[in-house]
């Protein structure tokens, strides 16, 4: 019966693991709801500021801000958003894959790449695999605050201001739905005039300008920095929602797999027990016949 006992204890340990994963699934599900609410709450601001900035990109301004001028690309920067904790399926890996793809593309052109890592997983990734990490922030938690991000963002913006970076991208997971998250790479700087999908915008681009108060330079300086911050913040908040959704799915799968494993082991256990009983009976019968 030694084999049967071993199987028993194996089943016991899998059951314990299953309890943990199913608890984690439920925790992730409730956290996901909150994260999703946070994501939708901050979306209007991010969308509106994007609309305003896209209008600005179409103007013919008296003063062209650094952030609006396309330069020759010598060095690019990536802000990589990841989660702080693991056990979330392929969430972070798919972001890192996207980053690696981008980095390869630039390297082939002989262009250097700088990174800013948000979330401890990204920090660990760049430490292990190399990559020129210029700014990092870990431990953003479930409700990230804009203040936590400003440090890393301003490092990148300063590099851009000083001409060390010629382009700035942000990489994060996009929340498609609970089942699907996909990594996206978005260019933050220089600003791109988006494709004309605005229904209200029929005027030709470049033929008009705003009235600026107090003046174009001060205003655009403030507004564009705010724009970048809000886009990065939105990326982080969205990534948190993705993290919880991915963890929920990953833990659900783990719980299901544990269930299957237990069923299989129960079968093996029953077979072993039956075999032991049969053997005992045949031994008794054999013994009786010999007497």
């Amino acid at each position: 019966m030694a084999a049967a006992k071993e199987i028993r204890s194996q089943i016991g340990s899998i059951k314990n693991t299953q309890k943990i994963t199913s608890a984690m699934e439920m925790v992730a599900a409730s956290k996901m709801r909150k994260a999703q609410e946070r994501m939708t709450a901050s979306q209007p601001y991010a969308q509106l500021i994007r609309r305003v900035v896209s209008h600005i990109a179409k103007t013919n301004p008296e003063y062209r801000h650094e952030y609006m001028i396309e330069r020759e690309v010598k060095r690019v920067g990536y802000i990589v958003v990841s989660s702080d904790r693991g056990l979330a399926g392929g969430l972070n890996v798919s972001v890192f894959k996207a980053v690696t793809r981008e980095a390869k593309y630039w390297h082939e052109k002989g262009i250097e790449v700088d990174y800013a890592a948000l979330g401890s997983k990204a920090n660990v990734f760049f430490r292990n695999h190399g990559g020129n990490l210029v700014a990092g922030k870990s431990g953003l938690g479930e409700a990230p605050a804009v203040d936590d991000l400003i440090g890393s963002v301003s490092v990148m913006l300063k590099a851009f201001d000083e001409g060390q970076l010629d382009r700035l991208y942000v990489v994060h997971n996009e929340f498609v739905n609970t089942m699907t998250q996909k990594p996206v790479v978005r260019q933050l700087l220089p600003l791109q005039a988006p494709a004309d999908d605005d229904e209200e915008e029929t005027r030709a681009s470049g033929s008009w300008d705003y009235l600026y108060e107090p003046d174009a330079k001060t205003l655009l300086d403030h507004l564009l920095v705010r724009y970048v911050e809000s886009q990065v913040y939105q990326a982080v908040v969205e990534n948190v929602a993705c993290e919880q959704a991915a963890r929920m799915i990953a833990m659900k799968n783990a719980t299901d797999n544990a269930g299957n494993l237990i069923d299989d082991l129960e079968l093996v256990y029953n077979k072993a027990r039956q075999a032991a009983i049969t053997q005992e009976i045949s031994e008794i019968v054999g013994g009786a016949a010999a007497v």
């Binding site: 709450a41 901050s42 209007p44 601001y45 509106l48 609309r51 209008h55 209200e200 705003y210 108060e213």
Partner: protein, 141 residues
């Protein structure tokens, strides 16, 4: 009167979205009144009230602590740092904040504290201004 699309958002949530006939906001270079067909304009906002006259003539007052205002002939967007409905403002709390800020400015410990206190004072004064406007409106009606 012709109306325009008006959106007010703060970093946390959408505050107002709908058609409006008139919008009055406190820009850094002075108060602005916006009607339909205003020339494109971008301005920073001071802490202060934003008054929106809806299509049905109802007036709504919001309080913002700063932000940006974008005007297009048909669309007006307010990107507020934080925005609250003026009805939710508490006059006593605002007055207390003003006193607190004045006191903090009185004992100038460091420049940093001073600038922060000055910003807090500006905010408290703006809140009080919003409440006063709200009360005047109530008195008239």
């Amino acid at each position: 009167m012709a109306s325009f699309q008006c959106d007010i958002v703060s970093a946390e949530k959408a505050i107002f979205s709908g058609n409006a006939e008139q919008l009055v906001a406190a820009g850094v270079s002075g108060d602005l009144g916006i009607l339909h067909g205003h020339a494109p304009l971008l301005t920073e906002l001071k802490p202060g009230p934003i008054r929106v006259t809806r299509e049905d003539g109802e007036e709504e007052v919001y309080f913002v602590t700063g932000g940006f205002l974008e005007v297009q002939p048909e669309v007006v967007s307010v990107l507020a740092d934080t925005a609250t409905r003026a009805h939710d403002l508490n006059e006593a709390a605002a007055e207390e904040a003003r006193q607190e800020a004045l006191r903090a400015m009185g004992d100038k410990q460091s420049d940093l504290d001073y600038t922060r206190a000055a910003a807090e004072l500006a905010e408290a004064v703006a809140q009080l201004r919003t409440i006063q406007q709200l009360r005047e409106k109530g008195g008239r009606g």
